[in-house]
């Protein structure tokens, strides 16, 4: 559906690339997870793919056709949910949705249904500026669905919600996949990615480290990891080490000899463990 080749992006005053030559493709009807710690370049990538930031270098293809300039066909077909809830605070929830609904060239969803779907029907006529952060986030999510998008970009749409609302949004996302919506889902929450995504890309410092399905990743790295927590200068340190890698085996011996160990778990690796293992970095 979407193919990205060698995408680079540098913010004006910065010396480093926020997006540093990434390539990936997203299949139609797939949920593609974009995972990485704070500042990895996830939102920047989403902004380029949605036309908010210009393509400085690299190529984007939609259904095998190179996109030179995003046109209204594209904007009519995509839905975008932002990481900062960006709503008109003086308008009610319903007015916010209706205003955006009027921007599209084709029939749109009813705002009342959408509000009901994200459990905001009781607050429909309240000013959105008086919503809690989680409510605003759900409003932004609902807004991204107003034009029944074929391609949906979700930037941290599930993070920051309470458990029951997180479940609600995840269920909607699963339902959308059933309807063959292609979804680009950005998150630093590995559990969410594990539960929802067909494939995930690990991104770190603007580079994609690996792309695979959560299942494959866990098969590849799983069951052979131990998590060791030990005390070091009064702080608790955590390391995840492979039981097959020679260097890691060496390290396990070293830690057991020199440090005070608090816990050792051999475990079914989570995506989070794998991420730390692959990038050497904790998630935000």
């Amino acid at each position: 559906m979407i193919e990205v080749k060698n995408l680079f992006f540098k913010y004006n005053k910065s010396h480093e690339y926020a997006v540093d030559g990434i390539s990936f493709d997203i299949n139609e009807g797939e949920i593609f997870g974009f995972l990485g710690p704070n500042g990895a370049g996830k939102s920047t990538t989403q902004k380029i793919l949605t036309g908010i930031l210009p393509v400085q270098d690299g190529e984007i293809y939609l259904r095998k056709e190179r996109i030179e300039k995003f046109n209204n066909d594209y904007f009519n077909a995509i839905g975008v949910s932002f990481e900062q809830p960006n709503i008109y605070g003086k308008l009610t929830g319903k007015e916010n949705l209706d205003f955006f609904a009027s921007m599209y060239d084709y029939p749109v969803q009813s705002s009342s249904n959408l509000l009901k779907m994200v459990d905001l029907d009781n607050a429909a006529n309240k000013k959105a500026g008086e919503y809690s952060k989680g409510m605003q986030q759900r409003l932004v999510f609902a807004r991204s669905l107003i034009n029944r998008p074929k391609i949906l970009f979700l930037d941290e749409s599930v993070s920051g919600l309470d458990p029951s609302n997180a479940v609600l949004i995840k269920e909607i996302i699963k339902e959308l996949r059933k309807q063959n919506t292609t979804i680009f889902l950005t998150t630093h929450n590995m559990t969410v990615a594990d539960e929802l995504c067909d494939r995930v890309a690990f991104i770190n410092s603007g580079k994609i480290v690996l792309i695979d399905s959560p299942r494959n990743l866990k098969l590849r790295y799983g069951r052979k990891l131990v998590k060791i927590e030990y005390e070091n200068d009064g702080c608790l340190n955590k390391e995840i080490l492979s039981l097959v890698d020679d260097k890691d085996k060496q390290r396990i011996v070293e830690i057991t000899k020199t440090k005070l160990i608090e816990t050792i778990h051999s475990q079914e690796a989570t995506l989070e463990d794998i991420f730390i293992k692959v990038t050497g970095r904790e998630l935000g």
Binding site: T50, P54, V80, F82, N86, Y88, K90, L91, F100
Partner: protein
């Protein structure tokens, strides 16, 4: 261009504006200003004068004065005195002992009105041959609009279109700060549609204010079609001003600083229009607000002519174009991420 989206933008701006106390104040301010001007500055009405004439003088001087002013008749001199006691400018004429007439004043009348009344009486005493040659001059003397009323009206319109611009600027800055602009970026909305839709508010307010202003201030004989054209073209000043502030300001704080500087630059030429001698006015030609003020001044004084107005309107458009040409590269620089 999609009309649906343009109207949506206008409606959204309007609703956002009337829910903002500050902007509501900006919308009401010109109306308040018009009311203030109306009540503290004499318009035509206060200049028109009234005479109280003794019955016996009705066929002679009474009949003459009726041509120029309101005349009431009274039985005798003491009734005239009673009427003069009242607040307004009322002049009494009664028979005098020498068979001629006396001119009675309370002493607190407007100087200008005394002059007019005095002029009329002198005129009555002049032989009729001379009188005919003076006719026109006296009639028009009660018709000139006081300079303060002119300035007042011009300020009502000026404030209206500049505040219309500020409303545009506030809405834009808020969209930047709340990042709702980004949400609009990913819809089919085009920049041109946003600009056109947003400009409607900048036209809408000054037109309402201009007609309300004329109504409140009780001006007579104004060409309403000319008023519409001058207001529409003048509104462009506010719109360009508003978008300029909106583009260069990234938040409310520096937005307000930019607004103050902008207002100063645009308002000063209007004030100077009334105080600089004619020869020095050439130094104001760069200011679109100067041309707008001149056009309005001629209009409310019922001296506006189409040809003259065309020059003044061209002045507005030309100076604005130059402003836009100078500012565009700056916008482009600040818009770049």
């Amino acid at each position: 261009m999609s009309i649906k989206r343009i109207i949506s933008i206008f409606r959204n701006d309007f609703v956002n504006s009337i829910r903002d106390k500050m902007i509501v104040y900006l919308m009401i301010a010109p109306v308040l200003l018009a009311l203030v001007v109306r009540f503290f500055i004499p318009g035509y009405e206060n200049i028109s004068i009234k005479f109280g004439v003794e019955e016996s003088l009705k066929p002679s001087i009474g009949a003459f004065l009726e041509n120029y002013a309101d005349v009431e008749y009274f039985e005798n001199r003491s009734e005239i005195y009673n009427r003069i006691e009242q607040y307004d400018d009322f002049f009494g004429i009664s028979t005098s002992s020498d068979g001629n007439f006396d001119f009675i004043l309370q002493g607190n009348e407007n100087e200008r009105n005394i002059e007019i009344a005095d002029g009329l009486l002198n005129y009555y005493s002049t032989p009729s041959v001379v009188r005919d040659s003076l006719d026109i001059e006296i009639k028009s003397s009660g018709k000139t609009l006081p300079i303060l009323a002119t300035i007042g009206f011009i300020f009502v319109i000026l404030v209206s279109y500049l505040f219309g611009g500020l409303t545009i600027a506030f809405n834009m800055i808020e969209e930047k700060e709340s990042e709702t602009l980004k949400a609009l970026d990913v819809t089919p909305l085009k920049l041109s549609e946003l600009v056109v839709g947003r400009s409607i508010l900048g036209y809408f307010m000054p037109i309402v204010h201009a007609y309300l202003g004329v109504l409140i201030m009780g001006f007579e004989g104004i060409n309403m079609f000319m008023l519409l054209i001058i207001t529409l073209v003048s509104s462009l000043i506010g719109i360009v001003f508003g978008f300029a502030i909106g583009f260069i300001s990234s938040n409310q704080f520096n937005g307000i600083t930019n607004m103050k500087i902008g207002l100063l630059i645009l308002m000063i030429p209007t004030i100077l229009t009334f105080f600089l001698p004619k020869g020095a006015q050439i130094f104001l030609y760069w200011a679109p607000t100067y041309w707008s003020a001149m056009a309005l001044k001629d209009l409310v004084n019922v001296q506006q002519r189409w040809g003259n107005m065309f020059i003044q309107i061209s002045g507005i458009i030309l100076t604005l174009t130059i402003f836009i040409l100078i500012l565009t590269p700056r916008f482009k620089r600040t818009l770049k991420l």
